[in-house]
């Protein structure tokens, strides 16, 4: 009888410990926006066009603009030409643009980049894990990484070419390309 009682208590304790572990896991895995000034969350993702992966680590030493988008997102369509134009303008300064197409169909994503003449590298994020790491709350959303691999400026929620986002984009780009 004592053994049974003890077993019951151990089982109950294990159940409570399990619930607690799940709660802790949930809290620690919630997506939070990364801190500006802190290291940019690393990722390695499959390219949308062609084969192979692109790792953020491989772009170390360059300023990087990371733009999250989806083919069915209307503001992303409005932003795409401006983003491509900005890429053409800033690439001579050693800036790399990376598009992250998340929660999207591969075919539609490819159509999107083709239609808008996007020439910078674009990666796929089917499960949204990269978007989670950056704490993305909507699309389009743009982040700026300096040559030291740190997030700088303000991340831009919405098209970079609308309203106050224009000046925000210029300021953030200036911080990203600055050589310290």
């Amino acid at each position: 009888m004592r053994t049974l009682k003890l077993t019951g208590q151990v089982v109950a304790l294990a159940a409570v410990a399990g619930m607690l572990a799940l709660l802790v896991w949930r809290l620690t895995h919630e997506s939070h926006p990364p801190k500006i000034g802190g290291p940019a969350p690393q990722f390695s993702a499959l390219r949308l066009r062609g084969d192979g992966r692109l790792a953020l680590q491989s772009l170390r030493g360059k300023a990087v603009v990371v733009n999250f988008f989806q083919s069915y997102c209307v503001p992303c369509k409005a932003e795409a030409p401006a983003l491509q134009q900005a890429y053409t303008q800033y690439r001579k300064d050693g800036v790399v643009f990376v598009g992250v197409d998340y929660w999207d169909s591969i075919a539609e994503g490819r159509k999107f980049v083709e239609h808008h003449g996007v020439t910078y590298p674009v990666v796929r994020d089917p499960g949204g894990s990269v978007a989670d790491r950056y704490g993305v709350t909507g699309t389009p959303e743009t982040f700026f990484i300096n040559r030291q691999g740190r997030l700088v400026g303000d991340h831009i929620l919405g098209p970079i070419n609308q309203g106050s986002n224009r000046s925000l984009f210029r300021e953030s780009m200036a911080q990203a390309v600055k050589r310290s």
């Binding site: 049974l4 019951g8 499960g127």
Partner: protein, 150 residues
């Protein structure tokens, strides 16, 4: 001979037109069924609850595959390859996700065992109440009292 050749041409034309239209004579699954099992990742609801552009794109994705006579599991595999597992309303029954299915079942079985064990113990602990005997003095007084009512 000429008739046979004509028949072959007509048959080939029909087959070509059917495949060109992407028609499936007998679809293996309906869009309505899939809509209840597939999520719109942006809206966090199933497709049948959403009218967003994302949901519409996913519906087109599914419709195109239904028209190609693909089965439910083939369509779901394609959906996961494109959108990740978040696209499925119910998590896949393998790997770590299996816990979602087995944990509640295990909990119910464990709870039933605990209740059964508790009931068994409770029944065993129930002992008949001992009959209390009155001491002779009290019995005598009670008899006297009752005798007054006779």
């Amino acid at each position: 001979m000429r008739l046979a050749a004509l028949a072959a041409v007509v048959a080939a034309a029909l087959a070509l037109s059917a495949s060109a239209l992407g028609a499936c004579a007998k679809p293996k699954v309906s869009l309505a069924k899939m809509e209840g099992e597939v999520m719109c990742p942006i809206c966090h609801t199933t497709l049948d609850q959403s009218d967003s552009l994302a949901a519409q794109q996913i519906e087109q994705f599914i419709s195109a595959r239904i028209a190609r006579c693909e089965s439910e599991s083939q369509i779901k595999t394609a959906l996961v390859a494109n959108y990740g597992t978040v696209i499925l309303a119910a998590p896949p029954g393998r790997g770590f996700d299996l816990l979602v299915w087995w944990l509640p079942l295990g909990g119910i079985v464990l709870a039933a065992l605990l209740v059964a064990f508790g009931a068994w113990r409770w029944r065993r602990a129930r002992v008949p109440e001992p009959e209390t005997e009155l001491d002779p003095e009290t019995e005598r007084q009670l008899d006297e009292l009752l005798a007054r009512f006779d």
